[in-house]
Amino acid sequence: MVKISDLKVGQALKSEFDSLTRDLLKQYAKASGDTNPIHVNDAVAEAAGLKGVIAHGLFSFGFITKLFEDFLEHGKYGKIIEFEVEMRGMVRVGDKLVTEATIEKIAGKRVFFNVKQTSFTNVDIKDKNSTIVKQFEAGERGYISEKDIARGLIKTKEVEEGTLTYRERVATPGTAIIELYD
């Protein structure tokens, strides 16, 4: 049950999605009518200087709306009033999308959120000798740019097979407003 009296400024909602495949982008292209080939055809995307297909700008938006639909139990406890999103970073096949929404303000029955969707792009895993033991699509196709490195977006962490290098960046920042019934 979601009630306005139970919510507090600073409270956060979160979801993760890590099954972004080429087939899913094809499914989205067909369903959305956005059939630009840079989203489904690597050769066309490469010719456009993109090094491989990119997700549709609004594809990842669907996971933001889903986060709130789930939170409101599909209209049982309230309704979605408004979303405003900015497409800032390209999302790629294999990326993990983490969507977070934090309550900024509560006014009457309306709740105002700051939304941040972050993409995590795995590059490779190296062993103790810095030998690549696993390379991901971003490593093979060269998705990581000098700009990413200069901006400090490239990070590492220890995983079972060695040291994972990945890029973490905010792909879609935004805001949301919902209205609760109670």
Binding site: F17, S19, L24, Q27, Y28, K30, A31, S32, G33, D34, A48, G57, L58, F59, F61, G62, F63, T65, K66, F68, E69, H74, G75, K79, I80, I81, E82, F83, E84, V85, E86, M87
Partner: protein, 167 residues
């Protein structure tokens, strides 16, 4: 590609002439059950409200607004033509230079979208501005979508970025 001076002149023309102007025509869209459900399934949505049977009263998930907005603008945008220095021109000179920069969706006072709905979209230009650092021109498209009963289903502001050479 045009010179920076030409691009600035084109940008100034668009900044002066576009805001508040209607895009000609309307875009008509039919909402089909299979399309609506397949769209929701892209996001692992399993609630029958959005992926159930037509008889159970399935409705479109909120993200489906992407689908009818994009289809509407693909229909309406090519109709936007202007006369600049005595010559007719399109808004976008090279479609490959368009980037989708942002969207604002508002459902306040709107009704649900259902299979069988016939949607009608109209649009007008909102703010237009140039970021000289990268010569990117931003254009807002204010889009209103209504159903066959003239009820609003969503109001959308799409912000498109047009890279240099595209305007």
């Amino acid at each position: 590609m045009s010179s920076i001076e030409d691009m600035k002149k084109n940008a100034e023309f668009l900044i002066e002439n576009l805001p508040g102007k209607d895009l000609p025509g309307t875009a008509k869209l039919s909402v089909r059950y299979r399309n609506l459900v397949n769209f929701a399934k892209c996001f692992d949505i399993t609630d029958p409200k959005y992926v159930g049977s037509e008889e159970e009263g399935v409705i479109a998930c909120h993200a489906y607004a992407n689908a009818y907005t994009i289809k509407s603008l693909y229909t309406l945008a090519p109709g936007a033509k202007f006369v600049q220095n005595g010559e007719e021109r399109m808004l976008i000179k090279n479609p490959r230079m368009i980037l989708h920069a942002g969207n604002k969706y508002n459902w306040d006072g709107c009704v649900d979208v259902k299979p069988g709905d016939k949607l009608t979209a109209t649009a007008k230009f909102g703010k237009v501005w140039l970021v000289e650092a990268n010569m990117m021109l931003f254009v807002e498209l204010i889009t209103k979508i209504k159903n066959q009963n003239n009820e609003p289903v969503c109001n959308v502001v799409v912000t498109a970025g047009i890279r240099k050479g595209g305007y």
